[in-house]
């Protein structure tokens, strides 16, 4: 991940035909990126750590906020105007998400995924896909681990498949706890 060049503005992604994937730690951030033209939203997590807890926090936050909007749509749709104000996102997009109970683009997750069980857990929490980088490339047997993570992601609700996929993978990447990463260097804290 690159450091930001502009600490105020985001890129006008509507002006491009190439798809943009944008990170988000909460629903308001995700909806602002979609308004700007993001083609996919990646819940941020903390890349390169092997610590999946940030990814869990972000997907739970985003899915929880979507569920709350959906409940508001069903019970008190007049409250969606204030919800849009609080999310700092356009009302029409808030209404669309509240009605559908999902984002209008793919919501996948990443950051600290190192085991098949990490990937399956994120899918169970409502991610539509999982991105894995160093969790595979810094492990003892990357090809085997990649195949196992694919299998656990595809069959994310089947404990038998996840257990089987988790066996005999060799060493996982050596993890770093996010709390041990100095705050200015935490990737998840970049963005607004």
């Amino acid at each position: 991940m690159l450091s930001p060049a502009d600490y105020v503005n985001h890129i006008d992604k509507q002006a491009f035909t190439v798809p943009f994937v944008c990170g988000a730690t909460n629903l308001g951030e995700a909806l602002r990126r979609i308004t700007e033209g993001a083609a996919m939203i990646r819940s941020k997590g903390e890349a390169g750590t092997g610590d999946v807890s940030e990814a869990i926090k972000h997907i739970r936050t985003i899915r929880g906020e979507i569920a709350a909007l959906h409940a508001t749509f069903q019970a008190n749709p007049e409250q969606l105007y204030v919800a849009a104000k609080e999310l700092a996102a356009p009302y029409n997009l808030v209404l669309e998400v509240a009605q559908a109970g999902k984002l209008p683009v793919v919501l996948f997750t990443a950051g600290g995924v190192a085991t098949p069980a990490d990937a399956a857990l994120l899918m169970q929490l409502g991610a539509e896909g999982v991105f894995v980088g160093s969790g595979i490339f810094k492990s003892g047997d990357p090809a085997k681990r990649a195949a196992a993570i694919v299998k656990a992601t595809a069959a994310f609700s089947d404990p038998a498949v996840i257990t089987e996929a988790s066996r005999g993978l060799g060493d996982a990447m050596v993890g770093i706890n996010v709390s041990d990463v100095p705050a200015p260097h935490r990737l998840a804290e970049r963005g607004w």
Binding site: T17, P19, A39, R63, A67, Q124, L125, G126, A147, V150, K151, A154, A155, S157, D158, V161
Partner: protein, 222 residues
Amino acid sequence: MCPTYPHPTGWLSGAGDQMNSTPTVGVLALQGGVREHAEVLDALGARTALLRTPADLLGPDGLRVDALVLPGGESSVIDRLIRTFGLYDPLQEAILAGLPTLGTCAGLILLANRVEDPAPGQQSLGVLDATVLRNAFGSQVDSAEVELETAEGPVRVAFIRAPEVVAVGPGVEVIARRSQAIVGVHQGAITGIAFHPELTGEARFHRHLLTQIGGHQQRAAS
């Protein structure tokens, strides 16, 4: 089944859960747009079973589903996953034995017996006598909702990196074209369509699938 799993419970009905005469439609659920198909099938009153392993498709007494949906997604990925999970042979045998099947987009590619431009190592189930060309209508940015005349009447459907059928065998009936390009076919109880009816709320192709169920007598439990 994980209790924290967030999707509607109706979408999670287990394979082989047959309490009454409601038809059970298996939706291949290893990758791609599964949920939207399940929603259309639910609205039509069918039970949905998500298929990920051979045991989801085949029970001790035979097939656990009355019909099959192969969804859209990335055809080369779904092809690889059905072989990884041991579903290639059971799916092929069930469809060849007459299991009513609807393939959309990547699902159409999986059904075809020839893929003109396969990804490296890509195979297909080879149960539909047709040749397909992947990404025939352009890349993701060329995605569009299109109005078509079809055997089911006029429809508005989504094309997303859709394939085209470039040749068909003698037993294949063309049911939809986009300009001159063939984008929908029937062959017996198999329907292959290049587009996504499930994304625009178009249910007629799924309803057609359900009408094919009576002719299929392979299922032991019924």
